[in-house]
Symmetry: C2
Subunit: 235 residues, 2 copies
């Protein structure tokens, strides 16, 4: 079966979170990179602990908790104004420059496109709006519907459920290797947008495709389609 | 009800993992601290991903995977000999110096003592043996029995099950704040041995007790006992 739909992770995959680090650096000169990194790590860590222990709360709140912890750990004085600025940045993240044209091309190839993100619906809507992507996606799925964050199977199940397709006929795309591994374990076809040039996680999962930008994803999808057409053609 | 049993986390709480960083520094001069930190973070991350996705494998293997990834990420050439040395260190970790006398005193107070660790049974047995703690513990519990790592409730449930006590009558002791939070969510009384002077995780859990070494734990248990005795005494 060819790929019939593509499900995208949001933060880091579609939306460029770099601007958060830049703002952190303006607010805490010399500490911006350390804060952005710890904040992101804690944000993800808290989603996992809350998923394992069934103590879900929305990503916006988890993100805020992670920010508060990170500033305390780094001994940075987080004023309410700084907190509002940093959190507010999540609502206006720019998309990576190649994304919109690639998404439009994939759509014109007949692909169904969806987002499946840890973000809660309000956060996602704001980011999709700010990136001008409203028209491109058939579905914007938040794990908030199942109150478990990725990599819980219940979260990945949202894709097949709404698309009416088996996971193996859906391509899952993420810049986070752990997310690619979780999706691969679940049964999706996977494509890793390895924007940072990171090594593959040692989790026994090999992505079906890999590249550094969404432009490489387009090439992968075209190749998948061409291979199937040439197989279908009589010799 | 007074505390009737104490369940301890192993790595970092009872056993000093510092020696691993020191060995890493000898093997990779200038990179030992970075390797030890990334290795530990990845080890924990992999336990969580494998727990959420029901892809359990024993802690020894997860630890090895995390080492391989960490060396690749840091561009360190991990020879088989270096790998064996680093992994072998887990089997001969020293205990913190105050531990054995404190554990013996707690035992002499009539407390049941147990270990509840992510480590698989072979790893734990070797470390307990090396630290001379065989006689002190009533039970050595590995999450391997339920094939889910902490903070999964199934892992924490091992304590009440074998001790025949409710979680609220058992004190759970860990140096890892996330472990204290998981145990607290589960229902244990908790004591955080905050050896590193870290800030409290922003997870909405406050440990019942806190200190910097196991000596502080003894004081906490004595106080718990004295308060209950004074409550029981007629005015």
């Amino acid at each position: 079966m060819p790929i019939r739909a593509i499900v995208f992770d949001a933060y880091g995959t579609l939306f460029d979170v770099y601007s958060i680090g830049a703002l952190a650096e303006r607010l805490f000169p010399g500490k911006g990179a350390a804060l952005a990194e710890l904040w992101r790590d804690k944000q993800i860590e808290y989603t996992r602990l809350r998923t394992m222990c069934s103590t879900y709360k929305p990503f916006w709140e988890v993100t805020q908790d992670a920010l508060v912890f990170s500033c305390r750990k780094l001994k940075l004085d987080l004023t309410l104004d700084a907190q509002n600025q940093l959190m507010g940045q999540y609502a206006k993240l720019p998309a990576f420059p190649e994304n919109l044209p690639v998404l439009q091309e994939l759509k014109s190839m007949g692909m169904k496109l969806a987002i499946l993100s840890n973000g809660n619906p309000d956060m996602l809507d704001a980011a999709v709006q700010a990136a001008g992507m409203n028209e491109v996606f058939n579905h914007i799925l938040s794990v908030d519907a199942v109150r478990k964050f990725k990599t819980a199977p219940e979260a990945y199940q949202l894709g097949p459920d709404i698309l009416g397709l088996a996971a193996k006929d859906i391509l899952f795309v993420s810049s986070n290797c752990w997310d690619v591994c979780g999706a691969g374990w679940f049964g999706y076809k996977t494509f890793w947008v390895n924007r940072a040039g990171a090594p593959l996680e040692e989790l026994g999962v090999t992505p079906h495709g890999q590249g550094t930008t969404l432009t490489d994803l387009r090439a992968f999808v075209e190749q998948d389609r061409n291979e199937l057409q040439s197989q279908a053609r009589p010799a």
